[in-house]
Amino acid sequence: MRPVYVVSGGVSKFAKARPDKTFQAIVKEAYDYSIQDIGLDFPTFNSLVDGSVASYFSDHFSRQLMSGIMAQDYLGLCPKPSHRVEGGGATGGLCFQEAWKAIASGHMELCVAYGFETMSRVETWKGNEFIALASDVSWDYPVGGFYSGYYAMMVTRHMKEFGTTVEQMATVSVKNHTNAYYNPYAQKRHRYSIEDVRNSPMVAWPLTRLDICVMSDGAAVTLFASEDGLRRLEAAGAKVRRPLVRVTGIGRGTDAMRMADRPHVDYETFIRDYATEQEKDSDETRAYYKVLWDRGTRYPGVHSFRAGRTAGNMAYKHAGIDDPLNELDFIELHDAYTSSEIQTYEDLGLCRYGEGGAFATSGKAFMPNVEYDLDLEHAPLCPVNPSGGLIACGHPVGATGLMQGVFAMWQLQGSIGIHFKDDTLQVEGAKRGAIHSHAGTGTYVTVSILEQEA
């Protein structure tokens, strides 16, 4: 595989509703920003790029099939090659990796990944119905199809097995909302307390409105290049920011659509097939897991995301990461729910299964230069969702995974201050980060590793 660079990106401001523009024109906002950021004009860039990948989740939201080609057309990219990818909430992460593949395989030298969603075209509860149609319509949807309900069921099991608390979940909401206060792209820029989170309206017990991300209109674009592609851009006058940012690892995992169908494997199978290398090498951790299994824990059940663990392990192996907590400088992960952020800490090996709640309140996932008004035991070690994540930035599904890619690239370029007009969220000295994209109850999960070029 050839080296793959992400060289530029753009994000439209995510908003509850953008009736002022069609989805194509919102994509163009992000596209134009990414071109201007490397100092090129539209016709020059379009003459250089080889093709694209389009990312959007639902045809229902805009009652429009083949939206991808309409964006391709609007961006002036016809007749260059393109295709649409779709995988629920992970659509953007899948798109990021498909563009990576186009470059890594040698099929393209310059590839645009663009993603979008306009969710405001239907009312909120109809939108929830559309999202719930991404569950089995024979067996799950008719029982009360509602994704917040599905995730709530998963976390009640997590709480029962591991003692995770609603206050630990609320801490994630406080962290991510507070971070977003400094992110001008974020849809929600509010400071909340744990009490605010718990006192907001109950949506699906125990998840309140402030435990859950919101629906959004928005778009994001990431530009991928090979070494030849970089040379092509710079020969045309592009000023690609240094240090360069390379995608050094990708991983994906899947699981059964019906969470009821997911296995409950024994201790030996878990250690053999799912434990991280770090966990396998630790006598103490294997003993810890043995105790959990003796108490009745089985994996993944509905408390954990096997797809997330699989994607993380694969990406870490690809990038040569043994100790993610200490070898990653930040992570932008898919926090559609505060509970799923906690579950994902565990899947990604930032802590052991069962320890996600305590990890959430430890302080290790917080930003160093932000005041949260919380009593945190540890200094920040690996900030999670420095941007504010989905909970605060919003979740225009097809754009979300690419938004994470753009924010991660800016972190590694050291250009957060330029794009956010504020340095607060710049992770100082960031050399390596991860992005994590996740679809319905953990059906598709992608993890991609981005690094500063040495």
């Binding site: 009652r63 509860w125 119905e129 019906r258």
Partner: protein, 185 residues
């Protein structure tokens, strides 16, 4: 106590308006002004009736309408699916039907939905559960009734429950629902 609303609900629908404001002349200044025009939004209705097939899962619905609960099992390994599955995910072999109507059942996980998709909003708050059956390897999503949805508790997990069937089958998975076993008279 229910929260007192502070704003009126937004709904679609309303008057049909004839005559959209537009410049009387299309001179350059007037055309340039159109860039400052607010977007027009219209309602588009979309309805469709699907002829949905339950395919190989159909016997489950026929059974539920006759007050029996079926499951699928791999005949060689005995791996059993509470939610029907025509082929085993490990052997790839076709599964067989078994009757689990009298198996012990308990709550594996739950939530109380205070909001929901549009279709289910009128039913809120309702309790969703994943049912765990004795000697069955996978779970089954269902509704739990007979508990106070406003008194949710983690203690519900592990609670023994038993199935009840709608007398008038709707041929949906909700033809079966569960109640706490202790609630039986």
């Amino acid at each position: 106590m229910a929260e007192i609303p502070k704003k009126r609900p937004e709904t679609l629908g309303g008057y049909v308006v004839h005559g959209i404001p537009f410049p009387k002349e299309t001179d350059p200044d007037s055309l340039a002004f159109l860039k400052r025009m607010a977007p027009l939004q219209i309602e588009q209705e979309y309805k469709i009736t699907y002829l949905h097939s339950y395919g190989q899962d159909s016997p489950w619905f026929a059974a539920a309408s006759n007050k029996r609960l079926l499951a699928n099992r791999d005949s060689k390994t005995g791996y059993t699916y509470a939610t029907p599955r025509g082929h085993d995910m490990y052997s790839g072999e076709e599964t067989e039907w078994i009757d689990i109507s009298t198996r012990k059942a308990s709550v594996h996980a739950f939530t109380v939905c205070h909001f929901g998709s549009e279709e289910f909003l009128p039913e809120t708050p309702f309790v969703l559960i994943l049912v765990e059956y004795e000697d069955v390897d996978t779970l089954f999503m269902a509704r739990l009734v007979g508990v106070d949805p406003l008194a949710a508790s983690l203690d519900w997990i592990g609670m023994e429950i038993e199935p009840r069937f709608l007398r008038n089958s709707k041929l949906k998975p909700t033809d079966v629902y569960f109640i706490p076993r202790a609630a039986e008279a």
